[in-house]
């Protein structure tokens, strides 16, 4: 007994120092923590980009810093305003170091990628929220959709809009088939989290290599005019395809939001996401709602996949490349929270594109991963999430 107690004591003394340190840091006043966070963020930004040049720039930088701290004061414990202020701080600092035009232009470039993340993220987060299933094959749903559009648009030479329709329908059908053939039976067997996670991983590979089997690893392109651009006021421009993606994306996302808020199906989906057992006992036909969730999630993934294919190229690996940024959007928005994923997807697209102002574009996804990891560490429930879901 004595020895055991001693062992426990030693155990604590040698290795819970880090936990103690974290706890002690956590008890610091809010404004000290927020200030330290902003100092750290600005420091990283200045080192990665450049330091202000001359007294005028330093003065402006100091003003931005002071304004950020002042703005943060009233928002203790409220993640959404804090995140918004941090975002404005980054934008203002970048405008100071570069120019309003450059920051705005990159931001516009990022909106189309952000819409794609948002469209894909909503589905991923809903499936997670309702089924507690981390679907590692979701990225490959996007690739599947893109290749379906390729069949119509290139192989058959049809218009892209028909390709988009086929992509949505076919990917939704894939979702139904997988729910009926794989996920529903596994749920009945009471499969564990790891078991299902690995199954979706293997499923992703099956989709990816089936695409490779049929279309090879060759880069392919949809039949769209990629160079056409639209002039915007203030000497800004946006690619025609990007503009269509942003408009269709935002309309779809608003419709999704309204559907979740206002329709019976949307309310039922949110009820299942809150508590599936309670939803079942209160008379909701859960298997029907789950099926609709898959149709909805996979359909949006198909649409997002065509958008991504239209703005870049098609290749079998495209789904996996998109998966991690989509996860980042989902986590940032609070896993299981559809509205969060929408906003976070758009913001992430813009921030990733901003990072190309001062970093090699090959590293821009690292910025996305860094945001993902920082959010996971300091606020795993996400910006819009509730602590309960973690």
């Amino acid at each position: 007994m004595e020895a055991g107690a001693l062992a426990v004591r030693r155990d604590r003394n040698t290795s819970e120092r880090f936990a103690d340190l974290v706890n002690r840091l956590n008890t610091l006043p809010y404004i000290v923590k927020a200030g330290a966070g902003i100092v750290l963020l600005d420091l990283v930004l200045l080192i990665a980009d450049r330091f202000p040049d001359g007294g005028g720039e330093w003065l402006l930088f100091a003003l931005i810093f002071a304004a950020t701290i002042a703005a943060l004061v009233p928002f203790e414990g409220r993640a959404v305003p804090i995140a918004a202020i941090v975002l404005v701080n980054v934008a203002a600092t970048l405008i100071l170091l570069h120019s309003l035009h450059d920051v705005a232009q990159r931001g516009i470039n990022g909106l189309s990628l952000g819409s794609i993340y948002a469209l894909a993220g909503v589905g991923l987060t809903l499936v997670y929220g309702i089924l507690k299933l981390v679907n590692f094959a979701h990225g490959d749903f996007l690739a599947f959709g893109a290749y379906m559009a390729y069949i119509v648009n290139v192989t058959w030479g049809g218009p892209l809009i028909l390709g988009i329709l086929l992509a949505i329908v076919a990917t939704a059908a894939l979702g139904i088939a997988l729910e009926k053939g794989m996920f529903a039976p596994m749920r009945r067997k009471g499969a564990g989290v790891l078991q299902l996670l690995l199954m979706t991983l293997a499923l992703g590979f099956v989709i990816r290599y089936t695409i490779q089997f049929i279309w090879s690893t060759e880069l392919r392109q949809l039949d769209v005019n990629r160079s056409a651009a639209v002039e915007l006021p203030g000497d800004l421009r946006i690619g025609r395809i990007s503009l269509i993606i942003v408009i269709v994306g935002i309309v779809t996302l608003v419709a999704t939001g309204l559907m979740l808020r206002l329709t019976m199906l949307g309310k039922q989906m949110r009820a299942l996401s809150d508590n599936i057992d309670l939803a079942e006992t209160s008379g909701i036909n859960t298997s029907r709602v789950i099926l609709y969730t898959w149709i909805f999630a996979a359909g949006l993934a198909g649409l997002a996949g065509v958008f991504y294919g239209a703005s870049t190229q098609l290749q079998p690996e495209m789904g996996f490349e998109l998966l991690l940024p989509i996860f980042a959007a989902v986590v940032l928005g609070g896993i299981g929270n559809a509205f969060g994923a929408l906003t976070a997807g758009l913001v992430l697209g813009v921030v990733i594109e901003w990072s190309t102002l001062f970093m090699a574009s090959g590293l821009k996804f690292v910025v996305g991963f860094a945001i993902l990891i920082i959010v996971l560490v300091i606020r795993p429930e996400g910006i819009f999430g509730r602590a309960r879901t973690v």
């Binding site: 596994m186 293997a202 499923l203 490779q212």
Partner: protein, 331 residues
């Protein structure tokens, strides 16, 4: 992964089944993946940490070793044999850095965070050209190793096997390490330390209530797993003779998980069995005599492998050697 082996013409049917060089190279891969997946077994099977970033540790170790032993202008850096323990230390340091903040996360969040970290390592290696030589990679780090294996070869020739293949010494070293590490880990699992890990896997709160510092044990498990990834990483880059970012794609970690599923969770000997089965089937399927393009054959191998994994996960989640009662994860 498909690029790692010497190219064997597709459609040679059964001739190559008797080609000893080919099967030795498959054996090397199987041995490297055994060591790599032993770390995953320790984390996933015995501690309940869903580490999906194992390839990141492998990359850190391989790059540390290559950067330490060479200079940018093609000269020699520090001694190869000294660089190995140094690289292991760097990798452990990285694992602790990763584990300290992220091991507090729930299992699925930890999985996502570790994949993202491993991908960040690869993308940084691809873009930090000054340090890593970008996509061209680093080579010329293995001269001391070649001297060492020449010694082993001469010894074997002296014993009487005169036409010993060039790659046989690497095969020998890989499997001596793989079996030695398997025995060592099996032993450790039976110590009080190993039992605490399993207690954490079963019920972390109960282990903590007994006064065990679960977080510290998980951190140790992760650091040990990173060490195993480092050893696998050294052998991996020695085998292909250069270090490039493309060797460290997430698929390497996922292949490690395939080895775990095939061999069975919570069984160290199952790892070697799973790895041998995986690589024999995967490479044996190269000889399918089908009227298909090479990329189609490659794709078909992975489709079949992953369908097998799905069926195995659905109907026999404990794998070939695993015990069903050990498969408690995620419940």
């Amino acid at each position: 992964m498909t690029e790692l082996l010497p190219l064997v013409p597709v459609g040679v049917t059964f001739d190559a089944f008797t080609d000893i060089d080919f099967w030795i190279s498959v054996g090397i891969l199987a041995g490297i993946y055994t060591i790599f997946a032993l770390g995953l077994q320790l984390n996933v099977g015995f501690t309940g940490i869903q580490n999906f970033g194992q390839v990141g540790f492998m990359a850190i170790a391989a790059y540390s070793m290559a950067i330490l032993t060479t200079t940018p202008d093609g000269g020699e850096g520090i001694n190869f044999w000294i660089s190995l323990p140094l690289s292991v230390l760097i990798t452990i340091g990285f694992a602790l850095l990763v584990g300290l903040p992220s091991l507090r996360l729930r299992a699925d969040y930890f999985a996502i965070a570790t994949i993202a970290l491993a991908e960040s390592v690869r993308l940084i290696a691809l873009n930090a050209r000054g340090l890593t030589n970008g996509a061209q990679g680093i080579f010329g780090f293995d001269r001391s190793w070649d001297d060492f294996t020449d010694g082993i070869r001469d010894f074997i020739v002296d014993i009487g096997w005169t036409d010993v293949p060039n790659i046989f010494p690497l095969f020998l070293v890989t499997w001596v390490l793989a079996i030695g590490l398997t025995i060592a880990l099996s032993r450790m699992q039976r110590t009080p330390w190993g039992r605490v890990l399993r207690a954490i896997r079963e019920d972390e709160d109960a282990a903590r209530a007994l006064g065990k510092n679960a977080f510290s044990y998980k951190l140790q498990s992760l650091a040990l797993s990173a060490t195993l990834a480092a050893i696998a990483g050294f052998l991996f880059v020695i085998n292909i003779k250069f270090v490039v970012p493309d060797s460290f794609l997430p698929i390497v970690t996922f292949t490690g998980y395939a080895v775990l599923i095939l061999g069975g969770l919570a069984n160290y000997w199952g790892v070697a069995v799973g790895s041998i089965i995986l690589w024999t089937i995967l490479e044996g399927l190269r000889f399918m005599d089908l009227p298909l393009e090479e990329t189609q054959i490659a794709a078909l191998r992975f489709i079949l492998l992953n369908l097998t994994l799905i069926l195995l996960l659905a109907f026999r989640p404990q794998g070939i050697l695993g015990k069903r009662e050990e498969m408690v994860l995620g419940e």
